[in-house]
Symmetry: C2
Subunit: 263 residues, 2 copies
Amino acid sequence: MTSSIPVGLLGALDPTSDRAVFRQIADQLREAIDKGRFKEGEKLPSEADLVEHYGVSRMTVRNSFSILQGEGLVHSEHGRGVFVRPRPPVRRLASDRFSRRHREQGKSAFIVEADAAGSKPEVDSLEVKEERASHDMSARLGSVRRVLARRRRYLLDGRPVEFATSYLPLDLARNTPIAQPNPGPGGIYARLEELGHHLDHFDEEIRARMPSPAEVKTLRLAAGVPVIHLIRTAYDTEGRAVEVCDTVMAADAYVLSYQLPAT
Amino acid sequence: MTSSIPVGLLGALDPTSDRAVFRQIADQLREAIDKGRFKEGEKLPSEADLVEHYGVSRMTVRNSFSILQGEGLVHSEHGRGVFVRPRPPVRRLASDRFSRRHREQGKSAFIVEADAAGSKPEVDSLEVKEERASHDMSARLGSVRRVLARRRRYLLDGRPVEFATSYLPLDLARNTPIAQPNPGPGGIYARLEELGHHLDHFDEEIRARMPSPAEVKTLRLAAGVPVIHLIRTAYDTEGRAVEVCDTVMAADAYVLSYQLPAT
DNA sequence: CAGTGGTCTAGACCACTGC
DNA sequence: CAGTGGTCTAGACCACTGT
């Protein structure tokens, strides 16, 4: 059987090059993807095809794929093939997403926004429980010992995109609607204000890193997809930290956007 | 020769487990690192050690290392060994970093801040040239055809941490100090204001992803380190976009921080 | 020099997919 | 069933590091 790779899509190796063979193959595949010769979702030549085309061993080809996988360019499906990873639709988080006017609706911001974007939103694995505050959380909340933790996972069209935990000082949240699985319209920020904790501002800290194995599982992350780790602290008008929300997001599903005054 | 791996640091494989051998080895190494049994910067057992300890082939061990490398937990040095990747000091970018008071100093914000943090700052590969605007840049700057591009790379203690390009409409920047390699105290934002473009606000868009091969080279990134891609647009009081700054940062070197009003 | 990781081969058997 | 990727072996030779 002759090679099933169309001529011109992939070139030949340069035996005089210092560059390792598997890197050269990865380079050629990457270039072909970048130039659109293999499109999103399209299947790449099989390992056997490439073994034949380049005259190398299978491990060499697999090494090339593993580079591209680490770059987040392709993903493999057992028994099916290796595919160009499609760019999923991204969720844009604007810096006014917690403004009061957004809280005046019955549904949560996540649901409203996803509906508007034509995606099917879901929230699952809701857990609300009292815990000992971690060292870091205690520092952020002002030497609090015990906290109410609200954990939930967000999905769009069946795909998990975000996992978030809110921590609130226990003395503030216990025996309030905040301790209910569903805190009601406007979410916990609306409830906090009703309880007299008028929100003044939020601090957000943003990091990016590769996910832990647990995060890979929870967010069903493909290889080569980092996470955005966002830690938001909400302060009331008296300067007290009333909530810390720790959020891990699939980086390929988000664009964060902020507006800064130029004063 | 008996194994050089201290007993207790690493366990045995579970032959009844469905989990692939190389994943089990990676799990054990990861756990040992997480628990501090191997500390930052410390050398892991050599491939040969692990081959002997687990009774597997070398490729199996290398597969384990490659998992940990993808997670950003370890890095290898040819001829020396595989090491636990140290967490480098991070640069904190606050959302008030462009406030006018920060512009009143003679040095750039980067230099001032790094000095304060006790790091040695450098700026290199400065390039200033006129270019055709990319499609995206043209849209951001309001249908501009040609731009002035200012490219530079930032280093801390010899390590590249950030690569940034500023784009300005050519009609605005040509024949001004902004087109000089060194635009003077306060940087180009101070010059823009002197030219009558009073800054009103900035928009920042944040993404995280794995780096391209070019970015790996420019930022000398280790395996398993994502980049933060920040696109900032500066608007003057007339609502005109006067600059777009496209920045790629080594994610392990940064924490971004924003303050949002709760209005 | 010995010890380390980097690259590569040529197989083997397995598990999953889709016809 | 054939075709695909997933795992694993047992070698080989090379390039780099440090003594």
